[in-house]
Symmetry: C2
Subunit: 193 residues, 2 copies
Amino acid sequence: MPRTTRPGGRTARTKAAVFEAAAALVAERGPEAVAMTDIARRAGVAATSLYRRWGDVRALLLEVAVEKLVADSPLPDTGSLRSDLRVWARRVAAGLRAPGGSPFFRIMLANAPTPGDGDIGRATAFGPRLQQIATMLDRAAARGETVPPLMDVIDHLLAPIYMRTLFGAPIGAAFAHDLADRLCGPARGDSQI
Amino acid sequence: MPRTTRPGGRTARTKAAVFEAAAALVAERGPEAVAMTDIARRAGVAATSLYRRWGDVRALLLEVAVEKLVADSPLPDTGSLRSDLRVWARRVAAGLRAPGGSPFFRIMLANAPTPGDGDIGRATAFGPRLQQIATMLDRAAARGETVPPLMDVIDHLLAPIYMRTLFGAPIGAAFAHDLADRLCGPARGDSQI
DNA sequence: CTACAAACGCAAATAAATTTGCATTAAGGA
DNA sequence: TCCTTAATGCAAATTTATTTGCGTTTGTAG
């Protein structure tokens, strides 16, 4: 009878080798310059296996990218939303700046929304980030702070960071600082609608 | 509409045919499913010519994407920066929502910076947009308005729009309104230290 | 321990993309 | 008009990616 999963065996080992090879190649040459053949050779597995398992390079790279970016970074819990956002912003930026970070990010973007694809890839990709933001906002609200809407954080904290990543523009402490301040109000009480 | 002037000689004509074919194919199948061969066949030109002129598919598609995305958003000149930004924001969003808009956007993202590429691809891709922003800001400054830094417009107007496009989140008038207000100051200044 | 089926490797076959060499055509200037 | 040059077309050659067929390995269930 057909088994659906085979955890922890040869399959898992080759998958690990393949992912490692793919990640290395992407970091070295960029996403567009790696072929199925290259990954296979580097990983020490037959290209045939890769084709059978993933179909084509994009599918494989997308899986790798999702895994890389979804890797959980610990959430800051400093006691104030403003400070949490500052720290978190810098961590996200650091993750994107890490070796291969930006290329993987681009892989995800390039494979995102095609009308008809369903939103699986996109949701898988951004879901964890949104969840993290929601958690920070919830904590702050529980403390009695007035918190900005989730969408505002996406628009004015996450979006600028992603944008600058694509531009290659620097993301320093001052910038993260400024982003958080815009959301929490510059000095103290802020009165949004 | 059929009365499109196509100045220039043979070169300009074939370029037009190629761009038209490429755009159509991208809109039909998505960026990843079009090959040099396909474009050549559809345009009625030899694939050899395409390779000689553009080198590879990505370069060609990137050029097409840039042209499409820039063409879709003519610059408003309403007399006030706030209003210009509002209109422009909606036009950019509309262009991204248009048939084929999102695929072309993804082409640009996928061709963004790769360490070693130099910044050619990136500059080519986003350059026109930045130029448009700079123009609006210059006009406003010439009128005597106080204008936000270019980078702020990128971070808090362009970035949210792109982000929402990737999410599939709606971009309405109210949203564009809000983005412009954040940059120009709504009623009370938001850009204090 | 044995049997089974999925996953794998290998080599050949196929298909597709990309390059190359050369003849031809068209545009712009003298 | 004629001449020069760059762009194009075409076919063959070459490389590279992808598929296919078949035997082998390796977990896992029984």
